[in-house]
């Protein structure tokens, strides 16, 4: 009996798969890269559940690698290890995959925070840095009927009377709370006094902003696009170096432009297990370099609306270190360290 179902399922997936494959145009092997890498099936770990940002990053990489025939005929497999801001996947990469250059993990700023907030015994400096790939800005919004017209007023009140402002965003210790902490600090307030209400996702925070529970919400740049466009909420600032359009039709002002020295990108990247020698690391880096410069990846970036945030090799290593330091400091000041 079960076999009937399996068969029906197979047919269905086949049909879907076929529909998917037909449209892909086979691109030739671009870039030089290291011919020897990958020498076998490449495993790509997503340290979170399917459907999230890291998962999408990994599966987009997989697709670009396969479509662009960049993996030298070797398969690329994606698998998920869920849990605790990625720290469980991190622990697994270090304990189980040490020395294996064919085992990469997607990670990002959230993991940097997760290691600190969850007091993870495995730290990020134990893995081999490869590259950062993409980034998204954060946006600060208030309801349309809010009295706050710009970030200055909001932060002035947050400094004078922290209890009067309910900030909301994603999970505790995540990018959103980190930004609130940085903003409080830049405004001269105590980051630990900022009243931050954590929600399990952007959706819940959105509802809380509309219902009146929150004074201001912090979220990824695309999350509030439609609510901003329809005038239900107002974007006060974005967290990048240059303003982006978050729904208002024109680029929103950055935090820096409003006089606070805060810049925060929710970046995502790739790391390899510990214990790789210099040559192995170099071949992985050059492989990811090839991926980054492929037309398939560039198209995918555009399609997903991700900012190209590419740093590889030593540059990535230095960046991971500086982010780690900065995030650890602010999370400790918030009281989560």
């Amino acid at each position: 009996m079960r076999k009937h179902v399996v068969a029906a399922g197979l047919v269905a997936v086949l049909a879907a798969g076929a529909a998917g494959c037909e449209k892909d145009t086979a691109g030739g092997r671009t870039g030089s890269g290291d011919a020897a890498y990958p020498a076998k099936t490449l495993q790509l770990m997503v340290p979170a559940a399917p459907g999230g940002g890291w998962d999408l990053t990994a599966r987009t990489m997989q697709k670009a690698l396969t479509d662009g025939k960049l993996a030298g005929g070797k398969a690329v497999e994606v698998y998920n290890v869920t849990g605790a801001a990625g720290t469980i996947g991190l622990a697994q990469l270090v304990s189980k995959n040490a020395g294996d250059a064919h085992h990469l993990m997607v990670m990002g700023l959230v993991m940097v925070g997760g290691v600190v907030a969850n007091k993870s015994p495995v730290k990020l400096d134990q893995v081999t840095p490869i590259a950062t790939l993409t980034a998204e800005q954060e946006v600060v919004v208030v309801p349309a009927n809010s009295k706050y017209r710009d970030l200055k007023q909001l932060l002035a009140d947050a400094k004078a009377n922290p209890a009067s402002i309910s900030w909301g965003g994603g999970s505790a210790g995540g990018t959103d709370q980190i930004l609130v902490g940085l903003l409080g600090k830049a405004a001269g307030a105590d980051p630990a006094a900022m009243k931050y209400v954590a929600y399990s996702g952007g959706g819940e925070a959105k509802a809380a902003l509309l219902s009146g529970d929150l004074t201001a919400a912090v979220s990824g740049q695309s999350e509030f696009k439609d609510l901003v466009a329809s005038g239900k909420v107002r974007a006060l600032a974005v967290s990048g170096a240059t303003g982006v359009d978050v729904g208002g039709g024109a680029p929103a002002e950055t935090i820096k432009e409003q006089g606070y020295d805060v810049e925060l990108m929710n970046w995502r990247g790739v790391v390899a297990p510990p214990g790789l020698d210099g040559a192995a690391q170099a071949s992985v880096v050059s492989f990811v370099d090839t991926l980054h410069s492929s037309p398939q990846w560039q198209t995918a970036l555009q399609q997903q609306g991700w900012e190209d945030f590419y740093k590889s090799g030593d540059e990535a290593k230095a960046f991971f270190e500086s982010e780690n330091q900065r995030i650890t400091t602010v999370l400790t000041e918030i009281g989560l360290g």
Partner: protein
């Protein structure tokens, strides 16, 4: 039989009470005096106290009841055998791979569950894991360990 079940109930009740006390202790230790209404430490204390209370009530009730007469006498080796097979399956999963470990598991657990038809079991043990493996890895794109087989 009647007494046996009740003894089981008493033992269970005692275990539950002890486990509950352990939870209360661990919750209080973690709370470190911080038990305000907004504290994340309040709920663990409240729930584990409720656990102890209800477990105690259950323990008491086991001294009183005499009602139950189970319809059939369960044997212990069936569940134990299944549990052992499961443990073996999970341990072997990432080393031997999905196909091999699942095939062995089906063969063994079918025996434990009383199958006497080895041929039938063998056919299922061969076809089911292979079908699942290919459906998952190649069509659904869900990763399963390949293990020792060159799949």
């Amino acid at each position: 039989m009647e007494t046996r079940l009740r003894t089981g109930g008493v033992v269970l009740g005692a275990v539950l009470v002890l486990a509950g006390v352990g939870l209360v202790w661990s919750a209080l230790a973690a709370a470190d005096g911080d038990l305000g209404l907004q504290s994340p430490r309040l709920a663990p204390v409240v729930i584990s106290l409720a656990w102890v209370g209800i477990a105690a009530a259950y323990l008491m009730s086991q001294f009183r009841t005499t009602d139950e007469e189970p319809a059939e006498r369960p044997h212990w080796w069936g569940p134990a055998g299944v549990a052992a097979s499961l443990a073996g399956f999970a341990i072997a999963l990432e080393y031997a791979g999905f196909v091999v470990s699942a095939a062995a598991f089906v063969l063994v657990v079918a025996r434990v569950l009383g199958s006497r038809n080895l041929l039938r079991d063998a056919i299922v043990a061969l076809l089911l894991p292979v079908a699942i493996y290919f459906a998952f890895t190649h069509l659904l794109d869900i990763f399963l360990p390949a293990g020792v087989l060159p799949l």
